[in-house]
Point group: D2
Amino acid sequence: MIKIGIIGGTGYTGSELARILCRHPGVEIAAMTSRQSAGRKVSDVSPFLKGYTDIAFSERLDPSGLDLVFVATPHGVAMEEVPAILDSGAKAIDMSGDYRLRDPAQYEKWYGHEHKDAKNLGEAVYGLPELFRGEIRGADLVANPGCYATSAALAIAPLAKRGLVGSRVIVDGKSGTSGAGMVPSARLHHPFCGESVVPYSVGTHRHTPEMEMAVGLFSGMEPEVFFTPQLVPIVRGMLSSCYMGLAEGADPGDLSRAYRDQYGGERFVHFVDEPSIRAVAGSNHAHVGFREARGTVVAFGVLDNLVKGASGQAVQCMNLMLGLDEGAGLDAPGLGV
Amino acid sequence: MIKIGIIGGTGYTGSELARILCRHPGVEIAAMTSRQSAGRKVSDVSPFLKGYTDIAFSERLDPSGLDLVFVATPHGVAMEEVPAILDSGAKAIDMSGDYRLRDPAQYEKWYGHEHKDAKNLGEAVYGLPELFRGEIRGADLVANPGCYATSAALAIAPLAKRGLVGSRVIVDGKSGTSGAGMVPSARLHHPFCGESVVPYSVGTHRHTPEMEMAVGLFSGMEPEVFFTPQLVPIVRGMLSSCYMGLAEGADPGDLSRAYRDQYGGERFVHFVDEPSIRAVAGSNHAHVGFREARGTVVAFGVLDNLVKGASGQAVQCMNLMLGLDEGAGLDAPGLGV
Amino acid sequence: MIKIGIIGGTGYTGSELARILCRHPGVEIAAMTSRQSAGRKVSDVSPFLKGYTDIAFSERLDPSGLDLVFVATPHGVAMEEVPAILDSGAKAIDMSGDYRLRDPAQYEKWYGHEHKDAKNLGEAVYGLPELFRGEIRGADLVANPGCYATSAALAIAPLAKRGLVGSRVIVDGKSGTSGAGMVPSARLHHPFCGESVVPYSVGTHRHTPEMEMAVGLFSGMEPEVFFTPQLVPIVRGMLSSCYMGLAEGADPGDLSRAYRDQYGGERFVHFVDEPSIRAVAGSNHAHVGFREARGTVVAFGVLDNLVKGASGQAVQCMNLMLGLDEGAGLDAPGLGV
Amino acid sequence: MIKIGIIGGTGYTGSELARILCRHPGVEIAAMTSRQSAGRKVSDVSPFLKGYTDIAFSERLDPSGLDLVFVATPHGVAMEEVPAILDSGAKAIDMSGDYRLRDPAQYEKWYGHEHKDAKNLGEAVYGLPELFRGEIRGADLVANPGCYATSAALAIAPLAKRGLVGSRVIVDGKSGTSGAGMVPSARLHHPFCGESVVPYSVGTHRHTPEMEMAVGLFSGMEPEVFFTPQLVPIVRGMLSSCYMGLAEGADPGDLSRAYRDQYGGERFVHFVDEPSIRAVAGSNHAHVGFREARGTVVAFGVLDNLVKGASGQAVQCMNLMLGLDEGAGLDAPGLGV
């Protein structure tokens, strides 16, 4: 059995990894770390895992002997963990933003501090399988994409690649609150956000350059993204509305064809007429769709921010990196309602 | 005491009018109609009005003897009610879309049927006081604006008027569910919309030409709007995110100045750094604010869709039309939390 | 492969059955009926099933050739479907209330009309596996329990059986809105219920006699239940707070022991200190727990109303009836968050 | 003009007091304190008050020269503030639990520390006007009731007083999250509570003895309360379901009469068939109602936890204490929707 480790197992991303992996037919979780919960059983801290795993959190893990390690720590910390993992011979998937931007200068500009692992940064592959499947297969280090960036890139990239839209893109993102993590804060306080829509980090959010990079790498176009993230009072789910100018000569039929060509053979990304958060919630599926009027295209990208927007996509990458069936462990349909 | 009538008093807009007017110091509700509840006491149908009004719903009302009548019926019906009201000498405020678009051809295009009252259509004034106060004062017929159009026009118009932005505008609207009215439907069914964000009528919503008209009339610019309405799972409240290109030579300081100049003296519209639905919910207040980055401006318009987005604004218009204090009856602050 | 039919596949219960069965390792959905969607592909009507099933809805199904048929129609209709299924030799699981109350007089009293299939009513087994596993194994017809009744019976029965509590029970139930089905109505209209807690059918709800029967059959005690159902603004999930007097001489240690003895070996029902809707949402798991003070016990029963409260439990029964592994197809952990 | 002070003006209770008092016709807010926001304008910290008050927070306030001071600090702190206020000659209303339980031993038992102001504790009047109006009128110190206790006492007391119910009472409370205050915590974190119902402090909540005291003082009966508080994912609003045995010989008609007799002349408490959170949200109104079956009565108490459950009720007490119209400043109807 393939042995997996998770560094940072108590956050939403880490426990969602465990939730998925505990039913994976081809791997086993050999170690999970947690600073504050070391020594406690995982299923005591995350009671939805009762009956699914018997392991306890450890303070640290030894990557030697593991095949792959997920690093589910905050950015800035991840790049201190990754080198040792790779040196030990294990593969690594970083859930944070530390290895997403290829250019250390970009990283420093958007994250506000220097990158300490420029060597591996240059080797990391951006883990969006529907756009970069080939590179992920051969990778030792995958940077798992952000949830907003995944939803937007899936919606934008097929159109950009085929030259159907202009390079100026506005992304209006609506995220469920679980995307903001498990640490209580004023913005996530229910009386504050429970009956509101809350914009934050407008024009300055770190997924902005990530969207540009992902779409650019895939399409060859150099998009310029303006991004407005907004919290909506749902727990799981995300809708990104991406606005672009229709390129001259393109018609809506071209747009449909682009999505069908791109995603017709995909298991997890579906081109639909009415993208629906409920249809994908709880699953690794994503919906894309669009409307066009008067020369403007709005492309919708919809997913569960904790699954296709985080841990599910990471497992999909893991499957590719380890030569397993790409969908292993990810067979849950969306909740529907 | 000034006598007021309400045609269509059981819908959300009609009962919200009653909720506001029952505390108004200068007018009294003399008659409210309801087809299905004729004969029942208003406070039995709308129990939050218990102790505030003793009148009963009538099947119809006689406008003669009334000073002003609110028409809170669906579009298409309103234009059958308005002529008789005006003929009787009473003033009228139409809550529906029937008198908002000045051009009958536009009306027919967006509403799908012919306008039957072209004569009064030409006389109607668009009831957004912060933009058209003078005209409203002298009007006999006011077309009360739509909620999306109000939120967007308040955010866009000051910038458009001063030439600070380009004419292509994208409006990404998020509305509380009460904006969709009181008739149960699949889209408003809690299991469907309660944990989702639901786009609808994308690019075809009737507030699109209304935004263009309102901003155009005020600013002289001819905006071209692409509008995406989306339901979010809150009951009251609306946030419209309006995207525009920054005009050459303009800087963010110009944008702030534009809003301050426009709204500095206003009682209900406030230019703030962080527009907040909770701060205005339950009140006639609206927030506008903006962020700018890389040549793109996002202007936010925030309000309670039933108050400043509907019945509160209508009462504000009524006050102007009747020569009363503009804020009479509208002194409630937002709920805050 | 074992062949399964579903009568009434477009409602929440029917489509949830399909959501679970499409991943079941031992059965296949051979036919699903829908009056209004006959001829359409199931995955077009329920888009979360895209990629999981290719069948189309039929107007009716022929039970001969099927091993088991789920009847997911409203009560009153089910008892017209069941006889033909059983006559054909297939087994049947009725999702409605038609076969839950053993006594036709009780049925008539609470459902308001006569029972038309008294013969099979006498043979039906109440499908709550943790309480009636043996009977379910041998049954041809299972009455799948109601969601409230399941949550309450799981919490009450172990205490009643051991004589630790008195027979007067108050059940204060809080249900997610999906429990009320997919037909839009005033009570489920988001602006009405989205920021409220709505009691309904207080003291008269049909799950009242069902709770009494289930607890009574299991424990030998004859409980008298007063039941208050209340809608809370969540989509999936249910918490029933069940109040009982502590029997003389019993102490809280007895209560813990009762639950541990009863559920210690169960896969889906867990005795925990803090029952949590989020920990079981999306899964067939249930939580029970309790607090005791001053001679009063409150026992909590928590589950996902569409899974352990409906379709998941039905699949669990199916597994027992067909001699399959009881948990087959039901291995999803709760969402956690 | 009567001069009012508020100690602790940034919490939800304090800012709600300001929201109500800023429109009060007979008093003015002369001073508000806040440790962390001293020096800042109130309307900058609570933006919904922009245009309603120009004062700034001070570090402390001098009660001499003020007519009445609201103490909106956490329990334990309040009893350090109250003596100086009373010594200065001002009246005081304490929003915390410090002066609610008359017996210092009870206080110590439930609050876990000694009471430091036993002298004033003996003089404090429990500020529930519909039950203790006379005493409040003459009081110098009022203990403003807790939200759960208000909702339950209003529902229970009229029945207890008339001997229509037994003394064992179960209170199953459902509270909006704003009742838990503005400090972020794990329990109020949206991803945790936003799609859940969360019991807490079951059987040990401090409003338990408060309910017993309030009902006991009013009715002469000595109730024994078992109380389960539960958070529901709404922001404002509370429903307490109170279960009691029907006394021998009483019939439901007696119950209706009891409520009508008790509340028929009240402005803010209404006996209705279907108590509704939405009908009272945003207002000082409360609904009570009941159902009875098989000898059990469930009485519902419904209110907005921040208004009738906290700051609105405090203003109602203030009006009584100062000889003003009891409803001054409290004329807002419920939101309805």
